[in-house]
Structures are given as C-alpha cells and as structure tokens.
Symmetry: none
Subunit: 226 residues, 4 copies
DNA sequence: GATGAATGAGGATTCATTCAT
DNA sequence: AATGAATGAATCCTCATTCAT
C-alpha cells in the first residue's frame, strides 16, 4: 500500500453521496475550502472555527462556501471524512494483515507515524471531535473499531508472549496506544511553551517513532527476543 | 496524603489571591458558579461554554456572575486552578517521594486514578485547554513539569531494570503515561456510543486501574520480579 | 465679594430642598462624592460617567452613593448646582454693578478667569450639559440670562462708544464672549495634543486673561482712550 | 471655490482608503448610515449614540451596519472625516489665499457660515469630539492647524492696523474666533429653551453672519476705514 | 451608613445563513 | 460560481438600581 495518495474509502461514508452529487464540483475551490477548513477545525475545533475565517484563508467571501457545502456541519463532516478515512484504511489493512509478528508491528508503527506526519491536523481533529462527543465520528469509527478490537484480541491470544494481557485488557491496550500516538501531536504547543522544543520537527518525530517501536516491543515482547 | 480533601496548594497560584479578596465572599454562590463552570468548560471548552449556560445551571442571571468573577476568562482560570492544583500537588508529592520502587509506583497509579474519579471533569478540561494552546495552563504546569521530568529521569537512571529507556526517551515516556491516563477519560462518550459500555462506571474504572498497574510494571519491570 | 468661598445661592435651586433634607447629611462623604462626580461628569459627560467610576474615586462601593443621592440624575444636578451657582452669583453681581466702565469690565474679566481657574471642571460641565440639550441647566440659567441680557443692552445703550453694536447684536456679543471664555478651557486636551502646550498652566492662563482684557477693550473701547 | 459640492480632500485622510475599498459599495446604504450616524453622534456624542439607534434611523438591523463599517469607532471616524474634511479644505484655501484684506476676510466669514449652515451637525460633532479628548480629531486637525496659525501670524504681522495683537496672542485670537463661530451653533437648543428663538433659523443665521462681519472688522480694523 | 448580591435593560459585536444579483 | 447586503440569534459585558444584611 502506498501512502502517498490517500486511497478512496473502501466503505460507504456518511454524507459523501449527496455531497458528491450536489455540492462538490470538479473545481479546485472545494478542495481549497477543505484544506482551509481542515486547518481551522484542527486548530480551534468546530465551535471555534468560523466560516468567515475559512473563507478568508481561501480568498473568498463566506457565502461562497455555500456553493460547495450545504452548511458548516456538512463542511466539517467532509473534512473529517477526508482526514480520517485514510487512517481507517491503513488500520483496517493492518488489522487484516496476516501476522502480528515483530516486522508487521514495526511497519504499522512506521506507517502510522508517516501518515500523521503528512496529515499533522488529524490528531487535533480527532481530539477536538472526541471532546465534542464524537457523534460525527462514531459512524465512521464503529465500522472499524469492532473488527480492530477482535483482530487485536485474536493476535494476542495467538501470541504466547502476549499472554500477560488478559482479553478484557485488550481494548484498553488499543486505547492506550491510540492515546499515546495521537496525544503526542496535540501537546506540541504546550510543550514548546514549557520546554522550548518543537515536537513536530523532524528530529523529534524520528525520536518519537523510535520510542514507539520500543514501546511496542516492550508491551509485546517477541518470544524470540526474550 | 489523603485524597479525600484537596490540600491547599503548597505553591502560589496565578490569580488565587485577588480572587479570594475581591470576588469570593463567604457565600456559596461563587462555589456553585465554579462547579457549574467546571462542568461546562469540561464539556464544551472555553469557547463552547457560554456564561448564560453557566448562570442557568447556577440558577442565576448571567450578569450576576460578574459579581464573583471579573470576566469569563477569570472564571475559566479559577476553574482551571481549582481543578488542576490538586493534581499538581499530588504529582509533586510523588515526584518528591523517595523511592521509585514498585510499591511507590503502584500507590501513585492508585491515587491518580482515585483523584480523577473524584474529579471526572479534569481530563476533559486539560485536553480542551491543551488543544486551545494551553497558554493558561503553561504557568501552572511549567512550575511542575520541569522537576517532574528531572525526577523521572533520576528514577530511571537509578533503576537498572529501566535502563531500556534512554534519557532522551524519558520525557516521551512521561508524556505517554499522561496521555494514557488522561485520554481514557475523554473517550468515554465515544466509547459508549461505539461499544455501549460506560468507561466511567465503577467496574470499568477498576479495570483500568488494574490495567495501568500492569502497564507500569511492564514498562518498568521490578528487578526482583524478573 | 470674595471668591475664595462659594457663597450660597441667593435663589432657590431646582432640587436642593429634598437633597438637603433627605440625602445630604453633614458627613464628608457627600462632599467627596460631589467632587469625584464633578471631575467625572466634566471629563466624560453624563452618559459617559458611570457611578461605579465615581464610587471608585471616592473609595466606596457604588450602592453607597444612593445613601447620599437619590439617583445618578440627582447627583448630576447637585454637581451642576454646586458648580454653576457661584458663577451665576458672580455674573449677577456684575450685572447689577453700577457702571460698565473700563475698571468694572476689567474686574469682571479677572474675577471670571479666577473663578474658572479655581473650578477648572466648570467649563467642560457647561459644554457637556449644553450639548446634551441643557434642559437641566435651563431653569438655573434662565433665571439669570434674561436680566443679564437686559443689563448688557442697557449698558451698551448708555455707552456712546459702544454704539457700534446694535441692540439685536447684544445677545450675540454676550454669547460670543461666553464661548470665548468657556471654550478656551475645553480645548486644552486637543491643544496639548496638537501644539504641545498646556493651556491650563499658570502662564497660559495669565496670557489668556491679558488677551481677554484686550479683547474686551477692543470690542468696547473706552471713550477716554480714543 | 464653490461650496455647493464638497471637494475631494487635497490631503490624505486617515482611513478613507480602506473604507472606499472594503466597505463602501455603490449602494446608498453606506451613505444613509453616515447620515444617520452624523446626526446621532452630533446629538449625543460617541458614547451616547447607540448603533441600534443609528440602524433604526436607517431602517435596518444593527448587525447590518457591520457590512459597511468595521466598528462603531470606524463609523465615527468616517463621519468625522466626511464632516470635517470640507471645512479643513475651506480653511486651508483661506489660509493660502493671498491677502488678508477686508474683502478676503468677509468672504471667509460668509463661506464658513454657509458651510456650517449646510452642515449643521458639524459644530456639535466638533465640540463633542473636543470634549472627548479629540484624539480622533488630532491627526486631521494638526495637519491644518499649524499652517493656519502661521498664516494668521503672518497676516497680522503684515497688517499695521492689527499690531494691537502681539504674536503670542494670535493663537488665542484664532481660538476665540473658532469658539465664537462654532459655539453659536451648539447653544441653539439651550437658547430656544431660555429665549424662545431658533438660532438655526434663516433670519438668525443672517444676523449672526452680519455680527461676525462686524466682529472681524472690529478686531482687525481696516486702515483705510479708520 | 455601607455593601454583597442580584438583575433588567441595553450595548457592541460575531456568526451562520439566506437571497437577489 | 461569487458576493454584497441583510438578519435572527447569541455572546460577553456594563450599568443603574434595588434589597437584605
């Protein structure tokens, strides 16, 4: 799987159909709006981002947005889908990958970090939406989350070395990994203020990737390495 | 240290003095306002929470809030201090605790979870503020965060079994633990929507506490247990 | 007539009776409130001055003002009376003075300037009130203004040298002199901004007094000096 | 110079450019807003005039004003510029006029009175702004006031008959004339209340113009007439 | 006589949205 | 497809005033 192009979502998304037909012409404007909106929603959340600011970034007046999206809500959902979709695809692929061995896990960590580095707005979008209740995320996520948890459970069951985790702890482990990965990106501002280092710069990202590799191999020690 | 009463902060907090003097009379109203505001700010963030809603919950008209707090911003900071202060105290105490041995770490995990269970709004407050840039958190946190990182570094240096973590990974470990602990509370809504279980209910909290104990002992294996 | 103490008004004033009885006790507080209110009303006008600011200057909370004055309006009227009264007395005395000769006119100019220098808020109070419609000033002024105009007319009729002014121009002359005298004090801020000089400082006041003397003697040349 | 059309300002004004570009479309609404705002600001001053009242007069809702002006302050400045600009032009032209002879002075008086009769709000606007500190007026006025004072000085120096005024008195004379001219318009309400005559009616205006001619010729007697 | 608390009225401003052009 | 204009709703906040203490 190449990560350089976000593949089309392999499953139907909530509002894509009407959007495709009614409001999203071939023009570049819709794309530009999505870009600006993604940045602003990530920065300030749904409530904090104003359509006026989105329009300003696009170089257009606010009412023009309505030629491309039905409402602020629709624009937000579109942003969410465009951003979250590829991750779900990636994770779905990982969950369907045959093995849970060391190479697979390392590749997954690397790919996730690469994806997030390319889409730095995503973690903040996710967290903002999570804090807002996540209702708009639920339909997208629940299609993935169930299988993912089941897959993880199966993997761990199959891995004698991972027996330290009971089945009931598996979802917690998944959640924990999610928070570690996603949280890292969201404290960048605070961290820069308090410690003076930019967590989103290249060296810091590489360091975090190494750290995640080590974290994973500590939580799921490869039998052969013991 | 008992956790049933929030101890007074052992360090000066940003604006507590003027608030005490100017705006917080013997009456219970200020307290009620802080309670309502804490819930709303946690739920919707600074921008999303309106003073009108706060006032409604208190059973008072919006302008009355100004008899107790100078502005929305001041109210927000007061909420933040009242909520975050005790955690900083707890963590500071932990950081100053003598040992990093298994019993100490277990006690810290237990206390943190107990504190968060008693103050369920805190994680959401923290995340909202973090996403908003965290500028209002920085002065409070940076007083603690530096020593905490140093303490963690020292502990790990002193623990031969923890040598698997390099010094540069220590802050990342701290961050990771922070995100695991705090993140858990923030996905409660989403999780209930997707999986139908209440992560904030007692059994789930107990399970998460056990999970954290195991997580900690996995990341920092006690030499004697190996 | 000594100018060092403002004499009691020789005529009944609008609201003084109830104020005297109900709201103005012997204490110094009422006086302090009047002082603060005078300064603020002069500075910002009736609308622009808030009772909170008045109270702050007095070192008291806003509701306490109501122990001394029935309302903002009543306080304003009291300020107006205390400030304007002495001028009316002075002008009434001048108008009843026997002659219109050079010495009398010079003394009047000197006394008016001395009075205004001692009560620098007065001109701004007058102008603010004038701009606000002057309804609250009218009852005070109209008791004076009629006789003053008549007196001025008589004086000019009696002075052959002043015959250059027709009777219909006399009110305009009075108005003109009023505006010259009062206006000087109100442009102090603007003048300092534009020209960098303080018109209210002592040398400037002396210069303006000399100027007024010359202006008067130009407009009403003394026959003996011709 | 014809006074029937306000000529464009020959000097750059503070905010006219952005207003032209951003906020003043071909429509008549902006003009109507300026008219209503001019009347209200003149009547009640900046603080006393509410945008709601302005909007009511225009027949529009208050938020609509923001489609034409960025803020109350911006609207106020726009009103000020539209009103004061032409006067400054007129005065600048007068100040640059070659002679200070009797005909020139008479023409200036006539033109000023004609201008003010056409813009009856201007004097009250000026006085309100002056009382408010005049900061928003300063940049406009100081561009004119320096040259005007210098011109007046030069004229008086050149006129042997005017030698009665020393150079230090020239600014005071200019101020005095300003106050006489402007003040007349601002006491109209008060005067009508006290004397029952409308100073803004045609006969009164003509009388005041004659009075000003006489005042000027008294203060600056033409040598040939002596 | 002072004041903490409360409040109705109102003020400037923002925002998402609509509509005619 | 774009936008100038308009607007209802809502937001934070100020203010004069009242009342119980």
């Amino acid at each position: 799987m190449t990560l350089d192009e976000d593949p089309p979502l392999p499953f139907p998304t909530t509002a894509s159909a009407p959007l495709q037909r009614l409001r999203r012409p071939a023009g570049r404007t819709a794309e530009a709006i999505l870009d600006a909106a993604e940045a602003l929603f990530a920065e300030r959340g749904y409530e904090g981002a104003s359509l006026r600011d989105v329009a300003d970034r696009v170089g257009v007046r606010a009412p023009s947005l309505y030629n491309h999206f039905e409402s602020k809500e629709a624009l937000y959902v579109a942003v969410l889908e465009r951003s979250v979709g590829p991750v779900l695809v990636l994770l779905a692929a990982a969950a369907q990958g045959e093995g849970g061995g060391r190479p697979d896990r390392d590749r997954l960590v690397t790919e996730v970090m690469a994806l997030l580095a390319r889409r730095p707005h995503l973690p903040r979008l996710l967290l903002h939406e999570t804090l807002a209740g996540g209702q708009r995320l639920t339909p997208m996520v629940e299609r993935f989350i169930g299988p993912a948890f089941e897959r993880a459970e199966a993997l761990i069951e199959a891995d004698p070395a991972a027996r330290r985790w009971t089945p009931e702890q598996v979802p917690l482990l998944v959640l924990a990994m999610y928070h570690v990965v996603v949280g890292y990106f969201t404290v960048a501002d605070l961290y820069r203020g308090a410690r003076g280092e930019d967590l989103l710069a290249e060296p810091a990202l590489a360091r975090q990737t190494r750290f995640l590799h080590q974290l994973v191999s500590t939580l799921f020690p490869d039998p052969t390495e013991r």
